[in-house]
Amino acid sequence: MFNAKYKSKKTKAQIAVTDLFIALFIFMVVIISIFVAWNMYINRLEQRIEYSNILSNAVQITDTLVKSPGKPVNWELSNATAEIIGLASSDRNLSERKVNAFTTLNYNTTKDLLNIKRYGFKFTLMNVNNSALIEYGLNSTGNNTVSIRRIVWYGNSTAFMDFALWR
C-alpha cells in the first residue's frame, strides 16, 4: 500500500521535472533566438546608418564638385587659398585647370577640405569608353564603399566622373 503510493508520487515528480526541463529548453531556445535576431538587426541597422552617411557625403561632395566653381572662385591659381573645392566652370561643365589643380592637392589636405577626415576616397575621370583620363586618391581598403558616377562635360566632350568614398 505504502509502496504503491510512493511509486505514484515518484512518477508525478518525474513528470513535473521533465515538464520543467522541456519548458526551460523552449524558453532558452526562444531567448537565444530573440538575442541572435536582435543582434543581427542591430548590426544591419549600424551598417545601414554607416552606408547612409557615406552615401550622403558622396552625393554632397560630387554635387559640389560638378556644380560649384569652389571658394574662392579662382582657388586653382593658388591651392593654398582653397576653402571649398569645386571643379565646375559652369553647371556640370568641368574646368581642366580646376581638375588639374585638384589632383595636385595633397591627399590629406583634400580630405580636410572635403570634410571627410574619417573616410578615404578615389576620384576618377573617364571618357565615354571608360578609359581613365585622370585618377586621384587611394583605392578602397574599407568594408563600406560607395561609388557615385556623374556624367559631366570635360574638354569639349562627355566624360564620367566617378567618386568612391570608403571607410
Binding site: 526562444v30 530573440i34 535576431a37 538587426y41 544591419r44 541597422l45 545601414r48 547612409s52 552615401l55 550622403s56 552625393v59 560630387t62 554635387d63 560638378v66 553647371d91 556640370r92 561643365n93 565615354v128 557615385i148 558616377r149 556623374r150 556624367i151 559631366v152 562635360w153 562627355t158
Partner: protein
C-alpha cells in the same frame, strides 16, 4: 487548475505571437533598402546629368527624335531606363518629341523638367524626363 493552465498557455502563445510579429516587422523595415531617399536622389542626379550634357552638346536642341534616342541610350547607365518628351514652339516634328521607352506601371518613376532653347533662338522646348530602375 486546468483552466488556469489554459489561460497561462494562451497568454504565452499570445506573447510569442506578439514578439514574433514585432521582430518580423522590424526586420522587414531594417532590410528594406530600396526606399532609401538618398538612392532616389542619386537616380534623379543621374537623370539631371544626362539632360544637362544633352543640352551642352546640343543634342536636345536638334529636336531630332532619332538623335535624342541614340544619345540617351549611350549615356544612360545600364541599370536605369529613361524616357524623354519635349513639348514646345519648335517647328520640327510638330513641336512634340517622345523617345521610345514605355513608362512602367510597377516601378518607382522619378521625373524632372528642363527648358531648352533652339540654337537659332527661334523656339523653345520643355523637356520632361523620367527615370526608373530596370
Amino acid at each position: 487548475m486546468t483552466r488556469k493552465a489554459f489561460i497561462f498557455s494562451l497568454e504565452m502563445a499570445f506573447a510569442v505571437f506578439l514578439v514574433t510579429t514585432i521582430m518580423l516587422v522590424s526586420g522587414y523595415y531594417s532590410t528594406k533598402q530600396s526606399d532609401d531617399p538618398l538612392i532616389k536622389l542619386q537616380i534623379l542626379r543621374t537623370a539631371e546629368d544626362i539632360i544637362a550634357i544633352m543640352d551642352y552638346n546640343n543634342t536636345l536642341t536638334t529636336f531630332n527624335p532619332q538623335a535624342i534616342q541614340t544619345q540617351l541610350e549611350q549615356l544612360s547607365p545600364i541599370s536605369y531606363q529613361m524616357k524623354i518628351t519635349i513639348n514646345g514652339t519648335f517647328t520640327q516634328n510638330g513641336g512634340y518629341i517622345e523617345t521610345n521607352q514605355t513608362l512602367p506601371n510597377d516601378r518607382f518613376i522619378i521625373a524632372g523638367n528642363r527648358v531648352v532653347v533652339s540654337q537659332d533662338a527661334s523656339g523653345f522646348g520643355v523637356v520632361k524626363y523620367y527615370i526608373w530602375l530596370r
